[in-house]
C-alpha cells in the first residue's frame, strides 16, 4: 500500500484574502504550531493549566476594564445583519451595503481579557492562580504589514493572579523563559520599555505609564516585538472583584507571545521558512 504524497500547493501558492489577512502556508503553519508548543513550555514550567477563552467578549465587560477609554480604535465588532436585510441577502443582494446590528460583543483583542472576565467575583487565594491560553486576537490597525501586523493573529498568554510579590515573580520567570526560548531558537532579543497602543497618547494613563512602565517588550533584530511582560497592578482585581485571599484585590500580570511574529522572526533569523522549521525541530528535541 502506498502512502499518499503531500499535495503540492498550486503555482502562486495561497492567496491572501486582503490587507492584514494571510493564509499561512503548510511550512509556516507548522512553524506557528511548533512554536506555540515550545512556548507552552512556560505554562508547563509554571504549572499553568491550559484553557480556551471565549471567542467573543461582551462590550459591557470590556467597558468595566476601561477597554474603550484606552483602545476605542482597536475593537473589531461582532455584528449581524438587520432582519430586514435578510430577504435581500437571500435574493442575492450584495452584503457590503446592507445594515448591520451590533450584538454587544467584540472579537478579543487580547487573550487575557476573556480569562479575566471569567474570574469575576472569584477568590484565587494567596497562592494565586495561573492560566495559559492561546487564541486568535483582532485589532483594527491603521496599516498592516505581513506577519508583523495583522488584523487577526494568535496570541498565547500565561496569566497570573494573586499577590503583588507573586506578580513580580511571574514576570521575572516569564522574561527569563522568553530569552531562553529565543536563544534555543537561535534568536537574540532586545528588551525595552514599551507603550500600549493608547488612543489618547497624552492622557493620564499614558502619562503615568511613561513614568512607571508596566510593559516590557522583547524584539527581534528588525524591531518586531514578539513577546511582552505586562503588569496590571491590582486594576483587574479591583474592577472584577477578584480576590487573593486575605491579601485583598488580586494583582495580575501576564506574559504574552505574538505567534505570527515569532514565525516572522524565525524566518528572518534563519533565512527561509524551511530552515526555520529545521531549527525549531532541533530546539524542540
Amino acid at each position: 500500500m502506498s502512502t499518499p504524497s503531500i499535495t503540492a500547493l498550486p503555482d502562486g501558492g495561497l492567496k491572501s484574502p486582503g490587507a492584514g489577512l494571510i493564509t499561512l502556508d503548510p511550512v509556516r503553519t507548522a512553524l506557528l504550531r511548533g512554536l506555540d508548543d515550545l512556548l507552552t513550555g512556560l505554562a508547563a514550567r509554571l504549572g499553568a493549566p491550559e484553557v480556551l477563552g471565549p471567542p467573543l467578549l461582551s462590550v459591557e465587560g470590556l467597558a468595566r476594564l476601561d477597554f474603550f477609554r484606552n483602545f476605542p480604535h482597536l475593537g473589531v465588532s461582532a455584528a449581524r445583519f438587520a432582519p430586514a436585510a435578510l430577504d435581500g441577502l437571500a435574493a442575492g443582494e450584495a452584503p457590503g451595503d446592507l445594515p448591520l446590528r451590533p450584538t454587544g460583543h467584540l472579537l478579543p483583542s487580547a487573550t487575557c481579557y476573556g480569562l479575566l472576565l471569567s474570574l469575576e467575583g472569584r477568590d484565587v487565594g494567596e497562592e494565586g492562580l495561573r492560566l495559559s491560553a492561546s487564541g486568535r486576537c483582532f485589532r483594527n490597525e491603521t496599516h498592516y504589514d505581513g506577519l508583523r501586523r495583522l488584523w487577526g493573529f494568535h496570541m498565547r498568554e500565561v496569566l497570573y493572579l494573586g499577590t503583588k510579590q507573586g506578580a513580580v515573580e511571574h514576570l521575572e520567570q516569564g522574561a527569563g523563559f522568553i530569552l531562553e526560548a529565543a536563544a534555543r531558537l537561535g534568536m537574540e532579543l532586545d528588551r525595552a520599555v514599551a507603550d500600549d497602543p493608547f488612543y489618547d497618547k497624552g492622557g493620564a494613563r499614558a502619562r503615568l505609564m511613561a513614568l512607571d512602565p508596566v510593559k516590557h517588550e522583547f524584539s527581534a533584530p528588525d524591531g518586531t516585538a514578539i513577546a511582552s511582560v505586562n503588569r496590571h497592578r491590582n486594576f483587574f482585581g479591583e474592577r472584577l472583584d477578584i480576590r487573593a485571599g486575605s491579601a485583598g484585590p488580586a494583582y495580575s500580570a501576564c506574559v504574552a507571545f505574538g505567534l505570527e511574529r515569532w514565525v516572522h522572526a524565525m524566518v528572518l533569523t534563519h533565512g527561509s521558512p524551511e530552515r526555520a522549521l529545521d531549527r525549531l525541530h532541533d530546539a524542540a528535541l
Binding site: 476601561d66 493620564a204 494613563r205 502619562r207 503615568l208 513614568l211 497592578r233 491590582n234 486594576f235
Partner: protein, 76 residues
C-alpha cells in the same frame, strides 16, 4: 498634606483609616492611572509651582513622604 489625604480618600471610598506615610500609592493604585493628572494638578495648586513630567520620576509620587519632600517641602 491633609488635602492630599482627603483627595485620596475621596478617590478611594473603600479605604478605611489613615494612609501610612510610606504606603506605596502607585502599586496599590490609590492614585489610579486615570486620575494621575488630576493628582498632579492638585500638587501644582498646593505647591504653587508647575510640575514638568519630564523632570520627575514615579518615585516622587510613590508615597506621602516622597510627595511631601519633592513637592511640598517649601509649603508652610
Amino acid at each position: 498634606m491633609d488635602r492630599i489625604a482627603a483627595w485620596l480618600h475621596e478617590k478611594n471610598p473603600g479605604l478605611d483609616g489613615p494612609i501610612a506615610a510610606d504606603e506605596d500609592l502607585i502599586e496599590a493604585r490609590l492614585i489610579d492611572s486615570m486620575d494621575f493628572l488630576e493628582f498632579v494638578d492638585l500638587l501644582e495648586k498646593l505647591s504653587g509651582t508647575t510640575i514638568d513630567l519630564q523632570e520627575v520620576t514615579i518615585d516622587d509620587f510613590r508615597t506621602l513622604d516622597n510627595v511631601q519632600k519633592r513637592f511640598l517641602a517649601a509649603c508652610p
